[in-house]
Symmetry: C2
Subunit: 305 residues, 2 copies
């Protein structure tokens, strides 16, 4: 696979006050104020942007206003936004755009955070005004739990951020989104096609969630298990506590890739099981060593958590 | 399963200076100065114990002395120790005891940290002096990596600690070891039989390590994967980087239990895979919700990380 990749030292918080003064007066709309949207809003405020918010459930919008996570929540705010970040489930994106179509600023660029890209871009383009643009992206950032209360501006610190522009995305729109991504605090930005994105993400994101869920769901779990767990179990199951309906949808939207990843994992687990069953200490040690080497590659990657 | 369980608020570091002055002048020997032994030594020093160390490889012993992780490394130190903590691979325990048998203090209590108990207790008792005692235990504490350099006194903060005394262990010996465990910083102490220990640990400790290793070893891993990972992958594979030969041995020593746990996990993974394959969103959501509920039970457990 050929990917375009760029890495940078994360923007330090210390230098922000001076560096990001230029953002003052610029409005960004964050649509969808859950865990991710709330985190975007909080981070954008740190970066001195004016943040306009939108949420389907109005009580959430009001909470965000009261807590000053957002500065406003109105059509005027949408009309002032050069960039609109769509932090809602993929299925809600087109209805949202249609509902607000006449209010978007001339030349506004939309970007999303959907975990599966599929044919999203075509669907969105079909309903955009010709002056607008859409640049798909996916921050590899998040945390356990769900909802505005769980949001944090720190989830972007040193993260990987995937840019997934289709061939119709205008270079200046891509550049605009990428500039924002670096400001958020990303350490690496890779640019891939929607198909590549969906394939990679099935392994690096969906599969760890599936294993965490399956480990918790095992018949072996009993109430007393909690007194026998250590860091390995806690870390391995942290993401078992997620927005169930959102993730069920994500898994099904990327069904083929996920089945392929489960099957690849299965081969790997089977090898290990066989080595245990055969009492093959040499083979078992080899499998453990291989995993260790690969894992160290991951953690020695500069600037990445 | 009926287990005896006790929980306490972890000993706070702030209160240590005064509370643990009583330990001054008391010597404890830590035998085996790897990640775990080094962590015990460092924590015991915080608790004002005098720490005597022993390690098969002398360069490690010297490093520990130079860094003041231990105060001494000699037979005199062993002779002064009421408690000896065996932090070596289980197979090295009997030779270590035989080598130093005449030097142990009268009435010395040995305790270990072995990940699998099996018939260890009988083997150890067969070579102990009659005045000595052995109380098996297993701290559910640790971290990735290996060796003295990776050790940290903080790994015990709020941990689970399993006490596995056999029926011959004297109550006053068990009490002595348990008192030390609370001082180390444990939040929960459970008491179980060796067989129960080995069965529980196969699920709560070995299995998460096996999944982490299998996830890293998947054929899907490519060099570029690192630019697509987020917290779920990082956390889920943290313990893939472990002492390969030590863990291969641990897995094989607990072979039957581990095979049973892999098979239970397999059933759980198969259910999830089937729900994805069948496009069964309802069932998938149910499985995710069940995992989330169980995971929240785990994290809401007081005093536990």
């Amino acid at each position: 696979m050929e990917i375009e990749k760029e890495s940078r030292a994360p923007e330090t918080r210390q230098s922000e006050n001076s560096r990001f003064r230029e953002n003052e007066g610029h409005t960004i709309t964050v649509a969808g104020l859950g865990l991710m949207g709330g985190s975007f809003a909080a981070r954008l405020k740190e970066l001195h942007y004016r943040v306009n918010g939108w949420n389907r459930t109005e009580t959430v919008t009001e909470k965000a206003l009261q807590r000053h996570v957002i500065d406003s929540a109105d059509e005027q705010g949408i009309s002032n936004s050069d960039i609109v970040i769509l932090c809602m489930p993929a299925g809600c994106i087109v209805p949202f755009i249609q509902q607000h179509l006449s209010h978007f600023k001339k030349g506004a660029v939309l970007t999303d955070i959907s975990g599966v890209k599929g044919h999203l871009c075509d669907e969105v383009r079909a309903c955009l005004r010709p002056d607008m643009d859409f640049v798909m992206a996916h921050p590899m950032a998040g945390r356990e739990g769900q909802g505005l209360d769980q949001s944090s501006p720190r989830i972007f610190d040193g993260c990987n951020y995937i840019l997934v522009p289709d061939e119709k995305a205008r270079p200046e729109s891509v550049e605009k989104v990428e500039r924002l991504i670096w400001q958020l605090g990303a350490a690496h930005v890779v640019t891939v096609t929607p198909a590549e994105h969906d394939r990679m993400i099935a392994y690096t994101s969906s599969l760890p969630h599936i294993l965490a869920v399956s480990l918790m769901d095992s018949d072996s779990f009993v109430e007393e298990s909690r007194y026998f767990v250590a860091g390995s179990f806690r870390d391995g199951t942290r993401v078992a506590d997620i927005n169930a309906s959102l993730w069920a949808r994500l898994f099904l939207e990327n069904r083929e890739n996920i089945l392929a990843e489960i099957d690849n994992f299965q081969k790997s687990l089977d090898s290990l099981r066989r080595a245990v069953e055969d009492n093959n200490r040499e083979q078992l040690t080899r499998l453990l060593e291989k995993a260790g080497e690969r894992r160290r590659m991951l953690s020695h990657e500069k600037n990445t958590r």
